[in-house]
């Protein structure tokens, strides 16, 4: 199966800000943060179409999100908005600073045709089962 290894950056977006002020359980919030953006060439190598589900995996966890192509993202890098989907990929290690590294970690992205991205309620249910 096609896979790309990229450096993931997470950050704020306007849509995330608007969505969280409506509410974390709102459709607007969930749609705004459950996404990964790749450079068009990395996106094409996955042989998927715009908005299709991909599995993103780091050394610390994995998550299913929708994938978009973006000219703004350089080849070999990826972008995800802050939120519960991106946070499944980061380590809690802070190297004694208090700050986990939320930008610049290696992740593997592969197509996940037929798999469904979890909703926020499903993410909560997953946490309740821990």
């Amino acid at each position: 199966m096609n896979e790309v290894v990229v450096t993931l950056i997470s950050a704020r977006t306007i849509e995330q800000g608007i969505g969280l002020e409506i509410g974390k359980t709102s459709e607007q919030y969930q749609n705004s943060v459950s996404v990964i953006e790749l450079n068009p060439s990395d996106f094409e190598s996955l042989e998927i179409s715009e908005g299709e589900t991909v599995e993103v995996e780091s050394d610390y966890g994995s998550v299913l999100v929708k994938c978009r192509s973006s000219q703004d993202v350089p080849k070999g890098r990826a972008f995800m908005p802050y939120g519960p989907w991106a946070n499944k990929l980061f380590s809690s290690s802070t190297r004694c600073s208090g700050m986990p590294q939320l930008k610049g970690i290696k992740v593997r992205v592969k197509a996940a045709k037929g798999l469904k991205m979890p909703s926020i309620v499903e993410l909560i249910d997953e946490l309740r089962r821990l």
Binding site: A11, P74, S91, M99
Partner: protein, 430 residues
């Protein structure tokens, strides 16, 4: 219908204080001067609200929710109090009083945004100025790992790019604007110079600039993906600026070795002050995250990551910061105030939050309230409750109350006072 003028927006660290909010029958019907996020905050503040307190998912009254919370916090051995950045200073004051009373650890969301900034500020200081001074004087502005076009939407128009000022009468024309980022953004398209750097290579780039400013010859052809001749031109421009500013964001603090990045950036600005006036300001995110650090520093001597287990305050980021405490599975209860760590902490820190009694005070349903044993709804600060907040440059600004909250919904500070009073009784009047 009533129109409130000079309303302060309680969203980001800009604390824009020129909003006009129209209220009819205790409902907000219109906003003026709001950015897109501020508009969402004011117009949707009633959506997805918590309407009543719950204990174990069961609807209850405020007194029972307070009593149950007090029992948990009074008997916990290692309670954590976390959040604070999206409430006003009186509530932060009460939170610290509560932490001392229960011998707990208290930390704010600063630890996962500008924590490395605060560590640097505590150790070597920051050369800062007010945003007003920058608007009036600055002719070179560098956004480093920060992007106000997504996070501080009116920063460019009010302070840093477009406004006219005393010594910047032509606004944009009087300023040379630089953006340093790892990807193209809306900001990178409208600046005079964009440096697209490699991820986790900020420290190298800052160090190279410091070397050039000090007159050291660099043999490498490029640093962090940027050709050396561009760095030389930038260093020269920095030295010749009349008043330069570095506005930096989480691109520095949340990348590899965030505290070292900030330390290096402050060093660069310090070096530049041998040549000209240069300042450095963190782009603080939550509207009162600067207040959380300030109030905490007054009261405990420390800005965040404070432990009261020995009866006095001790400060140690990496040990008493929330993510570390949870990762070590140390906390045995947590009180979350105006924050959603379940949505914003890395997964393994969140895992421990699901195992301990969680008490949350918030306005809206969020991932943390959905996992909390006790949930207490609060009035929205800056809309349904007044109070003081600190702007990103350290200026305190009074937030207005423009509508009444629903019956029985109190501000954070009053809820915390009730909790403190109850815990004092449980502890035999201590």
């Amino acid at each position: 219908m009533e129109v409130f003028s000079d309303v302060v927006c309680p969203f980001c660290g800009c604390l824009c204080d020129d909003l006009e909010i129209t209220v009819e029958n205790n409902k907000i019907i219109k906003t003026k001067n709001s950015c897109a996020i501020s508009l969402s905050k004011f117009m949707h503040h009633e959506d997805n609200r918590l309407n009543y307190p719950t204990v174990d998912g069961r609807r209850t009254d405020l007194v029972e929710a307070i009593n149950e919370s007090a029992k948990i916090l009074a008997s916990a051995k290692r309670p954590l109090i976390y959040g604070l950045s999206s409430t006003e200073c009186e509530a932060i004051n009460r939170s610290i009083e509560l932490a001392e009373l229960i011998g707990g650890v208290i930390d704010s969301t600063a630890s996962v945004c500008h924590g490395p900034t605060i560590i640097t500020e505590q150790s070597i200081g920051l050369i800062k100025s007010t945003l007003g001074e920058i608007k009036n004087r600055a002719d070179l502005i560098i956004f480093w790992g920060s992007n106000p076009t997504e996070s501080h939407l009116r920063h460019l128009t009010r302070y840093s790019m477009f406004p006219t000022g005393l010594f910047t009468p032509e606004g944009r024309k009087n300023r040379f604007i630089v953006a340093v980022d790892v990807r193209k953004t809306k900001l990178s398209r409208i600046v005079d110079l964009f440096l697209e750097i490699e991820p986790n290579k900020d420290f190298e780039l800052i160090s190279a600039l410091r070397a050039i400013v000090r007159g050291v010859k660099i043999e490498a052809e490029q640093v962090s993906g940027i050709p050396i001749n561009i760095l030389k031109e930038l260093a020269e421009r920095m030295k010749k600026a009349r008043f330069g500013v570095v506005f930096y964001g989480l691109g520095l603090t949340q990348s590899e070795m965030g505290d070292m990045n900030v330390n290096a950036a402050v060093g660069l600005v310090s070096d530049l002050n041998h040549h000209t006036k240069f300042v450095i300001l963190p782009m603080r995110g939550h509207f009162n995250v600067a207040g959380a650090n300030t109030v905490s520093s007054w009261l405990s001597g420390y800005p965040f990551a404070i432990d009261y287990s020995r009866g006095y305050s001790r400060y140690n980021p990496g040990e008493f910061t929330a993510v570390d405490l949870l990762e070590r599975k140390e906390a045995d209860a947590a009180l979350i105030i105006a924050s959603d760590p379940v949505a914003h902490f890395p997964a393994s820190a969140v895992e421990h939050l699901t195992k301990i009694p969680l008490i949350t005070i918030d306005q809206k349903v969020n991932m943390t309230t959905l996992l909390s044993r006790i949930v207490i709804p609060a009035a929205t600060v800056g809309i349904e409750a007044d109070g003081t907040a600190y702007r990103m440059d350290g200026i305190p600004i009074r937030l207005k109350k423009i509508i009444e909250p629903s019956e029985g919904i109190l501000p954070d500070s009053e809820i915390l006072k009730m909790m403190i009073d109850k815990i004092r009784v449980l502890k035999g009047g201590y």
